[in-house]
């Protein structure tokens, strides 16, 4: 084998890394760069990859009262959904992971199927239910709708985490005189805490980025969530790309901050599902 061949072989991973980094990284870099460009540079063809002059005028233009209102709406709906979702999931996941009650498998299959259904179909039915209950354009209505598609995957994820906490620890605590609830709250919940946080973050991510349900449910401007607010910046004829990119970056900040904290547990929980079933 010639040294030439070996040199090429050694360069393959580096070259591949460069291609992958370019494909995934370039759009992201360009997004950040567009958000700090001046309007005249954004609207110059051909576009530049890096900004010639850096300005924060787009961010200033976006961070107004309306944006903060959308932010508040998104926070209320996402926190509301994720907290209720985790609460209910802990109960259900505990039931599923600690006893083998009759009908358990049927329920688990039903939960699996319900997380695989097309949301557009569910939306038609859920909209009619919410409409009949006068829940359109309310936080409660949107939160309930979000529970329809956050609850099944959350129960599934948490069941995985709780199953990995050995039941013997709870039994030992009960032998020492703790009640079943005590044993669960003091032993299993703290041990499963990484999983609980990961599940909470997962529900938070899903609801934070949804706009299909919000589009249908939140009919008035003062109830709009952040994704709807960002989409509304797309005008009929002109699009202010600088502002749009700036608000997109702002919309992602809470997600990345949260993700930074829960990354390890979340990825572990999701991959374990695929690796071990």
């Amino acid at each position: 084998m010639s040294t030439w061949y070996r040199r090429v072989q050694r360069a393959v991973p580096d070259a591949a890394t460069l291609v992958v980094a370019g494909f995934f990284g370039l759009p992201l870099l360009w997004m950040l760069s567009t958000s700090v460009k001046t309007a005249s540079e954004v609207f110059t063809a051909p576009p530049t990859i890096l900004p010639k002059t850096i300005t924060i005028v787009n961010y200033q233009g976006v961070l107004n009262r309306q944006f903060l209102l959308y932010l508040a709406n998104s926070t209320i709906v996402s926190l509301g959904t994720s907290v209720i979702c985790v609460g209910l999931s802990i109960l259900a996941a505990y039931g599923f992971s600690r006893t083998r009650f009759p009908g358990r498998k049927v329920l688990l299959v039903a939960i699996m199927i319900s997380q695989l259904l097309p949301l557009a179909v569910l939306l038609i039915g859920i909209y009619r239910v919410a409409n009949a209950l006068n829940l359109i354009n309310t936080y409660a209505g949107l939160i309930s709708a979000y529970l329809a598609f956050t609850l099944p995957p959350s129960i599934w994820l948490l069941r995985g985490f709780l199953t990995s906490v050995p039941v013997e620890l709870e039994e030992a605590a009960m032998v020492d005189g703790a009640s079943r609830l005590d044993a669960f709250l003091r032993i299993s919940v703290p041990l499963a805490m990484p999983g609980i946080i990961a599940t909470w973050a997962y529900a938070l991510f899903i609801t934070w980025q949804d706009f299909m349900f919000a589009l249908v449910f939140m009919t008035s401007d003062e109830r709009r969530t952040l994704p709807l607010g960002v989409l509304a910046l797309i005008g009929e004829h002109t699009i202010d790309w600088g502002k749009l990119m700036a608000s997109s970056v702002l919309l992602m900040v809470p997600i990345f901050v949260t993700f930074g904290f829960v990354q390890r547990y979340l990825i572990e929980g999701l991959t374990r599902g695929a690796l071990k079933g």
Binding site: P13, L91, P118, G277
Partner: protein
């Protein structure tokens, strides 16, 4: 053999006798045992009940309602729907729009899933190597996955802008195109353009899965193969790949279901346009139901989409069940 049958027949007779009269002692204990069993599980039922009730109201009932609507002429101007039998299904199947949406959905799902698999596998294995900037790369790959679909869609809408977008600029620099191509406004290019964006957005999930699976391949297996003189490529194809196969199966099934149901990218980038050129089942169902307010027709499209996905859902559940995931 005959002896056995006779005994069984005898038992049946005995049972019939006791059924005719009062409850026999054997049945009474069985009954007590059964109720005691259920009572033992009452706590579990109570724990599962809140979620179960909520999901009945939020998933089971809406799904049944949509199924019922698909046989009616429900629409905005007809608040009390009338039963029309299979008309919505019939009208759908004989229309060109349906077949456009159908072929688009299949094309979209197959191309996106296959590309996510190949690219995900390649990047997953790549990120497992000793690279100089591995941690940076891992963080970078995660970003599109965590990014909201709306944002990814807006970003790629700008990428494809004929004059202001990066796609034309890059392709013109390398002389692959020689004009300002309006990728999202042409019927032939709009769906392929969104497919590229979907690959960008969705591949990271596969990458993380395959990275984890590759790192789970026992090192001594790979070492043994190396000692036996297997090349890098042979080690991957004959040792690592078979070990990763369960994860690959699950990931492909999951991405198929997710891609088929994915709404955000198409809706924000083209709204299914131009014309129906990039409509897929979720976006067309949505448009029928909420832009045109034809819930009956929308429900029929939605049900057909659900039926197609049910096949993959069943395969997925069987896969999970086979590995003891439901025990």
């Amino acid at each position: 053999m005959r002896h056995c049958v006779r005994i069984r027949l005898g038992m049946v007779e005995v049972r019939e006798n006791t059924l005719g009269g009062s409850v026999g002692p054997v049945q009474a204990t069985q009954y007590r045992k059964a109720t005691r069993g259920l009572r033992r599980y009452i706590g579990s039922y109570l724990l599962v009940a809140p979620s179960f009730v909520l999901l009945c109201v939020l998933v089971v009932y809406p799904l049944a309602d949509a199924f019922y609507l698909s046989f009616t002429d429900a629409s905005f101007i007809r608040p009390i729907p009338e039963w029309v039998g299979v008309r919505n299904y019939h009208d759908a199947v004989v229309s060109d729009t349906f077949w456009k949406v159908f072929t688009n959905s299949i094309l979209w799902t197959v191309v996106v899933v296959v590309c996510q698999f190949l690219l995900g596998l390649a990047t997953g294995v790549l990120l497992a190597q000793k690279l100089r900037i591995r941690s940076v790369m891992r963080a970078l790959v995660i970003v599109p996955w965590v990014m909201p679909g709306v944002i990814a869609a807006i970003l790629w809408k700008l990428m494809y802008d004929p004059y202001l977008g990066l796609v034309n600029k890059i392709l013109m620099t390398v002389h692959l195109v020689d004009g300002f191509v309006a990728w999202l406004a042409q019927p032939e290019t709009s769906l392929p353009a969104i497919i590229v964006a979907a690959i960008w957005k969705g591949t990271p999930f596969s990458t993380l899965m395959y990275l984890a699976a590759y790192q789970n391949v026992p090192a001594d297996l790979l070492d043994a193969a190396r000692i036996d003189g297997a090349s890098r490529w042979q080690r991957f194809i004959y040792v690592a790949f078979p070990e990763m196969l369960p994860t690959i199966r699950t990931t492909i099934l999951l991405t198929t279901i997710w891609t088929f149901n994915y709404f955000d990218l198409v809706y924000v980038m083209t709204r299914g346009g131009p014309g129906y050129a990039s409509h897929i089942f979720p976006t067309y169902t949505y448009e029928l139901a909420f832009a045109k307010a034809l819930q009956g027709e929308a429900a029929a499209y939605g049900m057909i989409g659900t039926a197609i996905m049910l096949i993959f859902s069943i395969l997925y559940i069987r896969e999970i069940n086979r590995r003891g995931g439901l025990d």
